[in-house]
Structure formats: structure tokens, C-alpha cells
């Protein structure tokens, strides 16, 4: 038994232990401990780590091997599970009755994704993919109610994606005669452009549906937002990224960027890589602007999760080491701030019972630590220094500019603009402005929930100032899929035409803030106003009139953008469903038709006449 087997076994033990003991009061702590054990095993894993287990079936050998790329994703996976379980272990557990199910589904998801991340050939990749899909269904559907419908939509989408992958795998088998990664890599140059296109499209669509790329973006936000509390943080941090992992393996490691750029899209200037980059850019824009219209904190963040996935693929498809490093690094960075944001929202729900942005406000005075977590989180999400989100986005922008892709760069900037607007709406409507009367008695959440939250915020800041820590894991991952790693150091990167040193950026920011603070404290006398004092643009409002502007945020912008929200993909989806329903009722009607023998006789007479004639 190798160390990788040990890791998978411990993951299995976690799932079994949660199924057995998950209802106990201390189950969450046990789970967190087991995830910590998995994290320790993961840290000690040699690269690449092979499994001693293999199966021979139908002339193929399934085996498992975790490379640096899988390790990078696995690190995020297990850490996210650890923090989410920790968060759920303490006081939070009393708010959720089906704790055992929650712990089991998280553990099963970790197991399934570890199996996927450790896949050593295309068949085991597909098996792992399906396992992750189905365990994902379990985790998304557990809350019942609206989650039941949303998770079914998830299942139909991802299963359709899975079938596209299935077709791709079988096509590889038929054309290459083997499903081993090395054999496919060797055979790619001999494949015709047509079959290579087919493979690229099948795999991209299949894996991309998990990432909810446009036009497959409709399922994700609702399905993720309807999961219970900290589980939302877990799924948003890692689940969808399995699509990116699989895409990196198949499109970059196996097919290779040089073959992607050789595939021309007919009648355009685009090649396959450019096409994917544009899909990524559109995915960065469209869901972000949908997020802007949301009035529920979890839905807003979940829509952003889709948009940020677009950045990751955009980086990967920017065609340079810098871009690919930025894309992969964004997976880690996004996981950290997104988990922090969802944990902060879960804290708000824990205390107020709602995440409706129209029914919150002013919580900063009651929940300052949750506010700080959310503040750091949204700075990361918006991609501003000194957080880690800035570093990865800087790398992606830089790669686009260096790669002479100004249009893609502009698209990325537009998406960032939407992000900044909507995260401001999020933090304003939740924490700023006036406190509502019913929230006067609200307190900060207990320490069992504060700590995981603050840890994510700390990671966002620390890896923001010293991105070299993350790049230490990204660089071998890039090399594992055959890409070069950019030159980096602890504080940032050195590129041919520009350097980034976050230690300096962070230092300058801190210095600037310190100067500002000093001026504020030592300068002109300031007046302290109460949180309930109103300012209403010249209108006179006394302090006893509650005034918190949250409903219908950005009305002017929304009016200007209104024609863009046509919901054409929604129409397409509804049309497809109606088509299946219609066809189904047509066939069902056929089974009620009675006089079949008569038709048969007529058919036979026609057949005999045909023989006679020919």
C-alpha cells in the first residue's frame, strides 16, 4: 500500500465514520480531525504518487497516480473540507437537523474528487468524473425543498456533460486503441483535424458544464446557493474546479497548446485556443453582470463563482506561462476568498436568519469580525491589492497584454468592473448603513465559526503579500502538464516587461493607510456620528426615521443595462425541455393507438408489392 492508497483509504474511513457517527454532537470535530489527517498525508505525498491498486477490465487497465496538478487541487479540496467541517462542528450544527447527511456528503465528495484527481488514465478519469458528479448531486440535493429542483437541474446538465466526455473517451479508445495518457499524447499528431476538433469540443463541453461556462451557466448559482451553510463554501471553493482540472489534463497535458492553436475555426481568425479564451471571457462577463442583479447574498456570490471560473480558463488559454500560472493560481485564490465570503454570509444567516440583501444592513457594529472577513473577501474577489485575487488577475491581464490580445483584456476589465459594483452592493447591503430594528440584539458568531472564517481571510492577505507561497505549488503543477513556469520569487514575479512585488505593494499600501490614519487622527477635529444618523442628499430625515438604501441598487445602471438581460439562454433551455416533453407525449400517445395489426397487414401488402415491382 502506497501513501496515496493511504490517503484514499483515510478518505474512505472518514466517509464511513461520518455515516456511522455523523449524528453525534462531536461528529464535526471528528470529521475536522480526519480531514486534518488527510491534509497531513497529502503534504507528505511524493510527486508523482502512484497507487498500488489497479484493475484490468475490457482490455484496459485502470490505475491511479496523483501528479503535481492533482496535488494542487487536492490541497484546496481537503483544506476547504476541513474549514467547512470545522465551521459546522461548533454552535452552527444546532441550526441544521440533518447533520449526519451533511458530513457524509462532504466526506463522499472529498473521496470522489480525490479519486478523480488521482486518475492515471482516461478511463479512471471518466470513472472519477462520474463519481464526483453523482456525489455532487448528493451534496447539492441534501437540503430538500428548492435544492431538490436545483440539484436535479445540476444533474441533468452535468450528466449531459458526462455523456459528452464518455463519447470522447470511447472515441479516443476507438481511434488510438488505448486509454493510457502517454499513448494518447503520442497519437495526437497523427489524428486528423476533424477528429481532433471533435475531441476538443466533446471534452470542453463535458468538462465545461461543470464549470458552468456560457451557455451552460444556468444551473450552478441556484444549486450552490441552496446548500446548507458552510457546505456552500466547500462546493464553491472546489467542486466546479474539477472541470478546470480535467480540462487542463486533456486539453493541455494530452492534446497540447500547439495542437489547439493549429485547429482553425472555419471562416474566422480564431483557433481552438482563441475560441476557448473567448468562451472564458464571455463566462467572466455574463454571470458577473447577472450577479449584479441578485438580491440574495448567496446567489450573488454563487454567480460570481461562475464568472471567476471564466478568469481561470482565460488565464489557461492565454497562451503563455504567465497566463497559465495566473489561471491555476486563481483557483487557489478564488477558493480562499470565496470560502471566506460564504462563511461570512453563513455567519449572517446564523445570526439573522436571512441572506436577503433587502432585509439586512448595518451589521458592522454587531458583527465586526464577519465584516472584516467579508471586506477582505470582496477585495480579493474584485481583484484589488494587497489580496491574492489581485496577483492572479494581474498575471492574467499581463499575459493577455503580452500575448497581444487587447480585446480579451478589455473583456476581462469589463467583468472586473461588474465585480466591483456588485461586491460593493453585497457589503453595503449587509454590513453598512443603518442597522435594522430587529437586528439590535445580534451578536458576533461564536469562536468555532469565527476562526475558520478568519483563517480564510488571513490566507487571502498572506498569500496576497507573498504570492510565492502559492506559486511554489503552481509551478510544479504547470510542469506536470508540460507548461513552463514563470520566474517568480516570494513577493511576486519577474516578467520581461514588468515586475510585481507584492511585498512592496503591500508595504506601500500599509504606509499610505498609516499616513491617512495619522492625518485623520492628528488633523482637523472630527465629529463622531451615530450609526443611525441619516444623510439623504439634502432631504431632511431625523434619526428616528429608518433609512437604509438597499432595494433596487444601481437603478440607473440597471435601466441602462436592461435590454441586455434578455434571458435568451433561459428560453433555449425551456424550449429544449418542452421539446422533450412534446416528443415524450407523442410517443406515449402512440402506445395508446389500438389498431396496430391492421397497420401491419397494410405494411406487408406494401412490402410484397415492392418486391413484385423491383
Amino acid at each position: 500500500m502506497t501513501l496515496l492508497d493511504g490517503l484514499l483509504l483515510l478518505s474512505l474511513i472518514t466517509a464511513v465514520a461520518m455515516a456511522w457517527l455523523g449524528a453525534r454532537a462531536w461528529a464535526g470535530w471528528l470529521g475536522a480531525g480526519l480531514y486534518a489527517g488527510q491534509l497531513a498525508l497529502l503534504a507528505g505525498l511524493p510527486m508523482p504518487a502512484s497507487s498500488a491498486v489497479s484493475f484490468a477490465v475490457l482490455g484496459h487497465t485502470l490505475h491511479w497516480q496523483m501528479g503535481a496538478l492533482g496535488w494542487f487541487f487536492a490541497l484546496i479540496l481537503v483544506a476547504a473540507a476541513l474549514l467547512a467541517t470545522w465551521y459546522a462542528a461548533g454552535a452552527w450544527r444546532r441550526t441544521y437537523p440533518r447533520r449526519r447527511l451533511l458530513h457524509v456528503t462532504v466526506a463522499l465528495n472529498v473521496l470522489a474528487m480525490l479519486i478523480l484527481l488521482a486518475s492515471g488514465d482516461l478511463l479512471s478519469l471518466f470513472v472519477g468524473w462520474e463519481l464526483a458528479t453523482w456525489s455532487g448531486y448528493l451534496i447539492l440535493t441534501q437540503a430538500g425543498g428548492p435544492a431538490e429542483r436545483a440539484s436535479l437541474r445540476y444533474l441533468v446538465y452535468t450528466l449531459a456533460g458526462g455523456m459528452a466526455v464518455f463519447a470522447g473517451v470511447v472515441l479516443v479508445d476507438v481511434q488510438v486503441g488505448s486509454l493510457q495518457l502517454a499513448d494518447l499524447r503520442a497519437a495526437v499528431p497523427e489524428l486528423s483535424a476533424g477528429s481532433l476538433w471533435l475531441l476538443v469540443l466533446l471534452f470542453t463541453a463535458g468538462f465545461g458544464i461543470k464549470m458552468a461556462f456560457v451557455p451552460f451557466h444556468l444551473w450552478q448559482a441556484e444549486a450552490y446557493a441552496e446548500t446548507p451553510g458552510p457546505v456552500t463554501a466547500f462546493v464553491s471553493a472546489i467542486s466546479a474546479r474539477m472541470g478546470l482540472f480535467a480540462m487542463a489534463v486533456v486539453l493541455i497535458q494530452l492534446i497540447g497548446p500547439q495542437h489547439l492553436t493549429a485547429l482553425q475555426v472555419p471562416f474566422t481568425f480564431l483557433d481552438a485556443q482563441g475560441l476557448l479564451a473567448w468562451i472564458a471571457a464571455i463566462t467572466a462577463i455574463v454571470p458577473t453582470f447577472i450577479a449584479l442583479t441578485q438580491s440574495d447574498a448567496r446567489m450573488l456570490l454563487a454567480w460570481h463563482g461562475i464568472g471567476q471560473g471564466g478568469y481561470m480558463l482565460l488565464g489557461l488559454m492565454a497562451g503563455s506561462a504567465l497566463g497559465a500560472a495566473g489561471g491555476l493560481m486563481h483557483v487557489f485564490n478564488h477558493a480562499t476568498y470565496q470560502a471566506g465570503l460564504f462563511l461570512a454570509v453563513a455567519a449572517v444567516i446564523y445570526r439573522t436568519g436571512t441572506s436577503d440583501l433587502d432585509r439586512l444592513g448595518g451589521l458592522i457594529s454587531r458583527m465586526p469580525l464577519s465584516f472584516i472577513t467579508m471586506l477582505i473577501g470582496i477585495i480579493g474577489l474584485a481583484g484589488l491589492p494587497p489580496t491574492n485575487g489581485f496577483v492572479s488577475k494581474w498575471m492574467i491581464y499581463k499575459a493577455l497584454l503580452n500575448g497581444e490580445q487587447p480585446l480579451l483584456f478589455i473583456a476581462a476589465v469589463i467583468a472586473t468592473l461588474g465585480t466591483i459594483l456588485s461586491v460593493y452592493k453585497l457589503i453595503h447591503n449587509t454590513f453598512l448603513g443603518q442597522l435594522r430594528v430587529e437586528h439590535h440584539a445580534v451578536q458576533e458568531v461564536p469562536w468555532s465559526m469565527r476562526l475558520p472564517m478568519l483563517i480564510t481571510a488571513l490566507v487571502v492577505m498572506v498569500t496576497g503579500v507573498t504570492p510565492g507561497l502559492v506559486l511554489d505549488a503552481v509551478a510544479p503543477a504547470l510542469e506536470a502538464i508540460g507548461l513552463a513556469a514563470p520566474a517568480y520569487h516570494l513577493g511576486g514575479l519577474t516578467t520581461g516587461n514588468g515586475n510585481l512585488d507584492m511585498v512592496w505593494v503591500g508595504g506601500a499600501l500599509t504606509f499610505g493607510l498609516a499616513v491617512g490614519l495619522a492625518v485623520f487622527l492628528l488633523g482637523s477635529p472630527s465629529q463622531r456620528t451615530h450609526q443611525w444618523d441619516n444623510y439623504a442628499g439634502g432631504h431632511f430625515l431625523s434619526a428616528d426615521i429608518r433609512f437604509h438604501y438597499s432595494h433596487d441598487f444601481y437603478p440607473g445602471l440597471m435601466r441602462a443595462l436592461a435590454p441586455a438581460y434578455r434571458g435568451s439562454v433561459r428560453w433555449l433551455e425551456a424550449g429544449l425541455v418542452t421539446l422533450v416533453e412534446l416528443a415524450a407525449s407523442a410517443f406515449q400517445g402512440l402506445y395508446r393507438a389500438a389498431p396496430l395489426p391492421a397497420y401491419l397487414v397494410v405494411g406487408v401488402v406494401l412490402l410484397l408489392w415492392w418486391i413484385q415491382a423491383s
Binding site: 470513472v127 470511447v170 416528443a583
Partner: protein
């Protein structure tokens, strides 16, 4: 040992059983299953012989090929004989309305079905097909309800029309070639029959066999009969009998109709069958009818695989067939205690946790979730379809993938619903007869490698047109 024993033993048993019942009810209760156990042992012995010596061809009555009644005990036929006997054993009628009559008919069905699987000439095939049909008509009405009688009448009308058409097809072939022996036909047909004639004959035979094989558009009886018959009988018909008819289609396709357009005809029919079955199941509100429609879809998949008719395709068809043989009867007997309407199953898991869990397992295997056997069966099917190349086969592969999503679209919400909310009435449901089938399915998960290897071996041992005439002389070892 003669393969004819596989026909003779159960049929004789069926004749003896009613009188035995009058003499000693206990003895007749024991005798039925015992006969099936003997049958399984016979199959095992013949299987050994077939593996070592190759297919065994026997001419009953000692006359050579064109005249005698030929039997062919190859691995393919024996596999289904064994599966049929084992399934009948699992679903053996012990309780209910007049179990003795049902037992007699089941034995008759096993005998006729085994004979059908082993026949090597068209005449036998036709006679035994009719016998199988008669036994299954009897089984469907065995509880004597009005709905059963009405369903059977429609089944009978359709079956009779189909049989007449099949007979016409056989007559066409006989008129053109002067023989009914499959092996001989395989060699004679290409010269003796023109293309339209061959296709017409195939279409007519397909019209006859398609009734039992649940092929479109001859499967209109399926939802009604499976909805009305006892779950046990529905399981037996959907699980084994329908596949025997499809097996005969395969036999025709690999011998007489090899290298003709017949494969394309079957491909088209199968594709529409898959589409019709699964889409109708998507809308079905009655659970039994839903399973019936789903069975149509699965049979369609099997027919798709057989239409490839190379060893990979045959292996895929066998894998799909055996998988369905385990899953569908288990589902039919399992939901016997459930409420029949879909919405009423909400929260059923609270009262029937094992039954609900088994449903989830079986549904996942039907959809084809790895590592359950249904996944491997679909994998081989896709390998067969995409490996053959050509537009129609690629389109069929795409259809299989799309229809899998539809399949999940009606099975998974149902499975989910079992676990949501508290039911109005707590239903107690047992898995009952489904247990051995589910255990076999789980065993197949572990043994998938060897099972796949064995199926490959069976598929490549299927005699093609060139090898279909192995030993026409009457000198067989162990011949009576």
C-alpha cells in the same frame, strides 16, 4: 448429452406436474424447482462441452441437414438457456392465485424458450416461438383479472398477426432457397435471393419476432401487459423471454442475413425503439408502466448492439441483456408493494428503507453510473457503435448518450422523491425475490473483469456465415 434434453426435461415436467399435483401437492411443489435445478445442471454440462469441443450440432431423427430438425448447442444459446432457467427459479411461483398452473406454464416457458435459443433451423424456431408465446399468454392471465384478460387479448392479436407475418417470411425464404436450416441458408442465400426479397423476408421475420422482442412499433402491448400481469410474470417476460426473441434475431442476422442491408434495418428499428421507450417512460405516471417503457428502451439498446453484429457488438448486446435481466425483474418484484402512482411514492424510504435503497442502486445501474455493471455494458455498446464507424452508427451512439440523460431524468427524480418528506401512509415494502438478483448485480461489480472476458469469448464463438456449417454429419459424440 443431447441439447434436446434442455427442451425435453422442462416440457415433460410441465406435462407431469398437474397430475403430480393431484397425487401429492407437496411433491409437485418440490418437483418444479427441482426440474429447473436439473435444467441448470444440464446447461452447465453442455456449456463445458461447448467450450471444449465447440458448438454441438445435432439432427434430431438422424436425418442430415435439409431434412432433419437441427439443434445447435453453442455458448450463446446455452448462456440464455441458463439465464432463463435461473431467472425462472428466482421468480418461481409459490403463492398467489393457482400457483400450480403458473408453475406448469413457467416450466413450459423454460422448455420452449431453451429450445428457441438452441434451434438451428427456421421451422423449429417458428414452432418454439409460438410455444413460448402461448406459455407467456397463459402466464399473463394466470391471476384471472379482467385487466389481465384484456391485455392478453391485445397481446394475442398482435402476436398472432406477427406470427402470420413471420410465417410468410419463412415461406419466402423457403420458396427461394428450398431449405430451412440456418447453416445451409447462410451459404445458399447470397446467391439465391435478390436484395429486395432478402430485406422483405427479414422485415417479415422481424415483424414476427419483434412482438416478443419489444421492438418498435410492435411493442404496444408492453405497457398494458406488464402493468396488468403479476410483477413476477412481468419480470420473467421483460427479463428473459424478450431477450430470447432478440437472440433469434441475432442468429438470423449472423447467418442468413449477414452482409445484407438487414443490419441497417435492425439499427433503424432499434433506434426508434430506444427513443420511443425511454421518452414514453419519461412521461409515465404509473410505476409499472414506467418500468415497462424502460424495458422497451433497454431492449432497443440491446438490438442496437446486435445490429453491429461483430463480436464487440454481440458482447455489448449480451452484457446489456444480462444486466437488464438482473435489474428489471428485481425492480418489478420490488415495486409490487409500492403505490402504483408516481407522486404517491414521496417519502417511501421512511417505511421501506431497504426497498428504496435497492431502487436507487438499480436505477443508478440502469443509467450507467460507474462502477456498476450498467456502465460497463454501455461502454462496450459505445465501443461497438463508434468502432464500426459510419454515419448511422455514430448517430446511434449519440442517441444512446442523449437517451441516458433522459433515463436519468425520470429515474433519479423518482429515487430522490423516495427520500423527501414524510409519506401520508407508511408503506412497508420488501425486496423479496429481488435479493438474489441484486446480489448477483453487486457480485458482477467485483467480477467485472472475468465476466467481460467470458462474454467476449461467447461473442467471438458465435458462428458467422462462413463457419456456420461446422459438422453436418450425424456422428456426434454423445448423440442419442
Amino acid at each position: 448429452m443431447s441439447p434436446a434434453l434442455l427442451l425435453a426435461v422442462p416440457v415433460l415436467g410441465a406435462f407431469v406436474l398437474p397430475s403430480l399435483h393431484r397425487a401429492s401437492p407437496f411433491a409437485s411443489r418440490v418437483a418444479g424447482p427441482l426440474i429447473l435445478v436439473v435444467q441448470v445442471a444440464l446447461v452447465a454440462a453442455l456449456w463445458q462441452q461447448a467450450v471444449v469441443h465447440g458448438p454441438l450440432v445435432i439432427e434430431l431423427g438422424g436425418l442430415p441437414a435439409p431434412m432433419g430438425i437441427a439443434w445447435q448447442a453453442d455458448q450463446l444459446g446455452l448462456l440464455w438457456c441458463g439465464a432463463l432457467a435461473l431467472l425462472a427459479l428466482v421468480l418461481w411461483p409459490r403463492e398467489g392465485h393457482d400457483p400450480n398452473r403458473a408453475a406448469t406454464l413457467t416450466l413450459l416457458l423454460v422448455g420452449a424458450g431453451s429450445g428457441l435459443a438452441l434451434s438451428a433451423d427456421l421451422f423449429n424456431l417458428f414452432v418454439l416461438y409460438e410455444l413460448t408465446a402461448l406459455a407467456s399468454f397463459g402466464l399473463v392471465v394466470s391471476q384471472g383479472t379482467g385487466a389481465q384478460a384484456a391485455a392478453t387479448l391485445r397481446f394475442l392479436l398482435l402476436g398472432a398477426t406477427g406470427s402470420a407475418l413471420a410465417l410468410l417470411g419463412i415461406a419466402l425464404i423457403y420458396a427461394a432457397t428450398g431449405t430451412l436450416n440456418l447453416a445451409q441458408l447462410a451459404q445458399v442465400t447470397p446467391g439465391a435471393m435478390s436484395d429486395p426479397l432478402v430485406l422483405t423476408a427479414f422485415a417479415l421475420l422481424l415483424a414476427g419476432l419483434g412482438v416478443k422482442a419489444e421492438l418498435f412499433p410492435l411493442n404496444t402491448w408492453v405497457p398494458e401487459v406488464y402493468g396488468a400481469a403479476s410483477p413476477r410474470v412481468a419480470g420473467l417476460l421483460a427479463g428473459a423471454v424478450s431477450k430470447l426473441a432478440l437472440l433469434v434475431v441475432l442468429r438470423l442476422l449472423t447467418t442468413i442475413f449477414a452482409d445484407t442491408g438487414a443490419a441497417m434495418v435492425l439499427l433503424g428499428v432499434a433506434a426508434v425503439t430506444v427513443l420511443a421507450g425511454e421518452l414514453a417512460a419519461y412521461r409515465a405516471q404509473d410505476l409499472r408502466r414506467m418500468l415497462a417503457y424502460s424495458s422497451i428502451g433497454q431492449l432497443g439498446l440491446m438490438a442496437l448492439a446486435f445490429s453491429v453484429s461483430n463480436p464487440t457488438g454481440i458482447a455489448a448486446g449480451l452484457a446489456l441483456g444480462l444486466h437488464h435481466l438482473l435489474v428489471k425483474p428485481a425492480l418489478f418484484v420490488m415495486i409490487a408493494d409500492w403505490p402504483r402512482r408516481r407522486p404517491q411514492t414521496r417519502g417511501l424510504a421512511a417505511g421501506a428503507p431497504w426497498s428504496a435503497a435497492a431502487f436507487v442502486l438499480l436505477a443508478l445501474s440502469l443509467v450507467g453510473v460507474p462502477p456498476l455493471p450498467g456502465f460497463w455494458a454501455k461502454l462496450v455498446l459505445l465501443q461497438a457503435l463508434l468502432g464500426t464507424g459510419g454515419g448511422p452508427y455514430a448517430a446511434a451512439a449519440a442517441l444512446v448518450l442523449v437517451i441516458t440523460v433522459v433515463e436519468a431524468g425520470y429515474l433519479i427524480p423518482l429515487a430522490r422523491q423516495l427520500y423527501s418528506g414524510e409519506p401520508a401512509v407508511r408503506v412497508r415494502a420488501r425486496i423479496g425475490r429481488g435479493v438474489p438478483l441484486i446480489l448477483a448485480l453487486l457480485l458482477a461489480v467485483v467480477l467485472i473483469g472475468p465476466v467481460a472476458q467470458r462474454l467476449d469469448q461467447v461473442a467471438s464463438s458465435v458462428p458467422g456465415p462462413a463457419t456456420a456449417l461446422p459438422r453436418l454429419s450425424a456422428s456426434e459424440p454423445g448423440q442419442p
